[in-house]
């Protein structure tokens, strides 16, 4: 009977392995749990689930298996990413909103609608219609739910605000506190780490000591070297909002991975393309902006710059003054990108769009040209290439032609 349960768990998305299952049986044999369903449930969870994110799935499989309850899981898990619904359920609704939910036929009805909407939305995305403007229409607008409110993988953020103002475009602050599957990214980013020696002498240099002791005819001569310290400086410029909505999750992961890997790490946001100013905090983006000029003056050319963006927009937003979708820019995006790339010699652009689609999007082609081809897909392989590019010494990089 438990063997079935084991396979049900695996089918339900809980990554259980055989040794863990055997551990559970061993624990049962050792009578850790008494003969009560609660005890068994707790024991099984302790043995089989290794991540709090899987608790929910485990609970569903458990309920289904041991009570033959409704097949909730198949209805939920297959079509709609679990996290989407969870993020929604975790929202803090005000009393008025709860009343509204009741008026619409209760929570069940609403979830049903939501599920349906999400399905529609997925299909639409698969169709590849990502042009500026379309992402702003909300599938849940009628209910006062903004899809931005159902931010993937970012439970408990700014949902409330998104609910209230559904038609003003809000940008999710890429959260550096969540860390979902960042291990892979870290492995890639670690290659970027450059150890440089700086600081006070306080580590024994064994090789140096042996060499100089031998030179001293066996009399000990200690040599010390500065501690190894990660001295890579990184500037991360991230596109938020608009067509990037689809990629929020993957960028989130990159962001939290990057944060813990580098000693000097700064991030800024832009929308679609870098223009004359950038900002650090999406909540205060209209008041606290950093002029791009100042950014260039503040951070030296020893910073490596990583742009993250899908570069998917109207070509005018890059090439023409005044092309920006949200303000009047006196100089074109291409000019500003040119200034950034001449100052920071080492830079890459990571694009979450699949590389196969790049050549069909004119704006991506233009951006790649401006970057002298240093655009890489946001995958592990792409990160490898990107870090290899960033590790090249500045002397080896030929300067870009002036824009």
């Amino acid at each position: 009977m438990l063997v079935r349960f084991f396979f049900d768990l695996r089918a339900g998305g809980v990554p259980v392995t055989l040794p863990e299952f055997l551990t559970l049986l061993e624990a049962l044999e050792a009578r850790v749990a008494t003969l009560s369903a609660d005890d068994f449930y707790q024991l099984a969870r302790v043995c089989l689930v290794k991540d709090e994110r899987h608790y929910d799935r485990f609970d569903r499989v458990f309920a289904e298996h041991f009570r033959g309850a409704e097949k909730l899981f198949s209805a939920f898990g297959v079509d709609v990413p679990d996290e989407w619904l969870r993020a929604l359920a975790e929202r803090v609704l005000s009393d008025a909103e709860k009343a509204q939910v009741e008026a619409l036929g209760g929570w069940e009805k609403l979830m049903e609608t939501l599920r349906q909407r999400l399905r529609e939305q997925q299909r639409r995305h698969e169709g590849g219609n990502r042009w500026i403007g379309t992402a702003g229409t909300s599938p849940f607008g009628a209910y006062g739910y903004n899809p931005e409110g159902v931010r993937i993988g970012q439970a408990g953020s700014r949902h409330r605000r998104a609910v209230k103002v559904w038609d003003r475009r809000e940008f999710a602050n890429l959260d550096d506190s969540v860390e979902l599957g960042t291990r892979n990214f870290k492995m890639g980013l670690r290659r970027l780490r450059r150890f440089a020696r700086e600081g006070a002498d306080y580590e024994l240099d064994l090789d140096g000591t042996i060499a100089s002791t031998a030179k001293n005819a066996g009399w000990l001569d200690l040599k010390l070297v500065p501690e190894r310290r990660n001295a890579v400086k990184v500037l991360l410029l991230v596109d938020v909002g608009g067509s990037m909505d689809d990629h929020v999750r993957v960028c989130d992961e990159l962001f939290s991975a990057a944060r813990s890997e580098f000693r000097h790490f700064e991030h800024f946001y832009f929308h679609n393309f870098p223009y004359e100013s950038l900002w650090k905090d999406n909540r205060r983006r209209h008041t606290e902006r950093m002029p791009t000029d100042q950014l260039i003056r503040t951070y030296g050319p020893d910073y490596r710059v990583i742009f993250v963006g899908d570069a998917t927009m109207s070509p005018y937003e890059i090439t023409m003054p005044g092309g920006s979708v949200e303000h009047w820019n006196a100089e074109s995006g291409a000019t500003w990108l040119g200034r950034l790339t001449t100052h920071f010699r080492r830079f890459v652009w990571l694009n979450p769009e699949p590389a196969a689609r790049w050549e069909y999007t004119p704006s991506i082609a233009i951006t790649r040209e401006l970057l002298a081809g240093r655009m890489f897909p946001l995958t592990l392989a792409g990160l490898d290439l990107a870090t290899a590019e960033l590790r090249r010494s500045p002397a080896a990089i030929s300067p870009l032609p002036p824009p």
């Binding site: 990554p15 392995t17 040794p19 863990e20 551990t23 061993e26 624990a27 050792a30 850790v32 749990a33 609660d38 005890d39 707790q42 024991l43 969870r45 302790v46 043995c47 689930v49 290794k50 991540d51 709090e52 608790y55 929202r91 803090v92 408990g156 953020s157 700014r158 949902h159 409330r160 506190s177 860390e179 599957g181 960042t182 291990r183 870290k186 024994l204 064994l206 009399w219 000990l220 200690l222 813990s260």
Partner: protein, 283 residues
């Protein structure tokens, strides 16, 4: 085999789930990995297990520079080199220069000890992988002295993590896992009762309502947790704040008194002030 069962203690409230996790780990002598929001008593758990079961406690606090090898042993080459210069006799035995780590100490213990590996996520991401065999077989090999160190009694290992880094699957497979959920109001009442038994019921009820409302403010970077609540209650008692000051109506309008104990960064304070301001204006 009969084991004493862990059910919490006079100073520590353990939910049935947590008690089950601990008992499973104790019975099968497997490591127990504890995660949960900061301040929910992860580190304290090990101390309480040791105290209730009457076992010695070994603590190994992990830093970002910690290496797995440091937990096993270190070879102090520099001392040996110096001793050889001074012509000391002990230089001939390499075993004199093997410095034992926390894991070794725990393995050598005469009774079954409790070993706390605190904040394992602070270390390098390869750290847990380097401890796989040691945690699985409870043995390791000292290359310098060609000696196999095996645990006399498999220690009860409690590992805590703050989720700053993802732990490797191979490591997770070898552990029991429990996520300490944030306590509900009832459990919280018991926790506060245990720490401040003389507290006026009224004050406690008001403080808890105020506290849970603060936790519900969306977007807080660091939600106040149990340990912060306890600090806050201590302050409230010390300052002799009357329960009326914490009343629902008041706290809607302004921040609760001594809120510095609950909110730990500037952005959060701004955010809460903003929410308060909006709710005042909405009236």
């Amino acid at each position: 085999m009969t084991q004493e069962r862990f059910t919490g203690s006079a100073r520590y409230i353990a939910t049935p789930e947590l008690a089950m996790a601990v008992n499973a780990a104790v019975t099968l002598a497997r490591p127990l990995l504890i995660k949960g929001e900061p301040g929910t008593g992860k580190t304290q758990l090990a101390e309480e297990i040791a105290a209730t079961l009457g076992r010695p406690l070994h603590e190994w606090h992990i830093k970002s520079t910690s290496k797995a090898q440091q937990g096993l042993y270190e070879y102090d080459a520099v001392s040996r080199l110096r001793d050889s210069q001074l012509g000391e006799g002990r230089v001939h035995d390499i075993a004199n220069y093997i410095v034992r780590g926390k894991l070794w100490e725990a393995f050598e213990s005469d009774t079954q000890p409790v070993l706390l590996i605190d904040e394992i996520d602070k270390a390098d991401i390869e750290f847990p992988n380097d401890l796989l065999r040691e945690l699985d077989r409870m043995e390791f090999y000292v290359y310098e002295t060609r000696q196999l160190v095996r645990a006399r009694h498999r220690p009860i290992i409690v590992i805590t993590s703050n989720n700053e880094k993802e732990l490797p699957d191979a490591f997770l497979r070898r552990c029991f896992f429990h996520y300490i959920r944030f306590p509900d109001e009832e459990t919280m009442r018991r926790i506060v009762d245990v720490h401040y038994p003389g507290l006026k019921r009224e004050l406690l009820a008001e403080a808890l309502t105020s506290f849970f409302r603060l936790r519900e403010v969306p977007g807080l970077r660091k939600k106040p947790s149990t340990s912060e609540l306890l600090d806050w209650v201590k302050l409230l008692v010390a300052e002799d704040i009357p329960p009326e000051a914490l009343r629902t109506e008041d706290s809607k309008k302004s921040l609760p008194p001594l809120y510095g104990a609950l909110l730990k960064n500037e952005q959060d304070m701004h955010l809460v002030e903003q929410v308060m301001f909006l709710s005042r204006r909405a009236r």
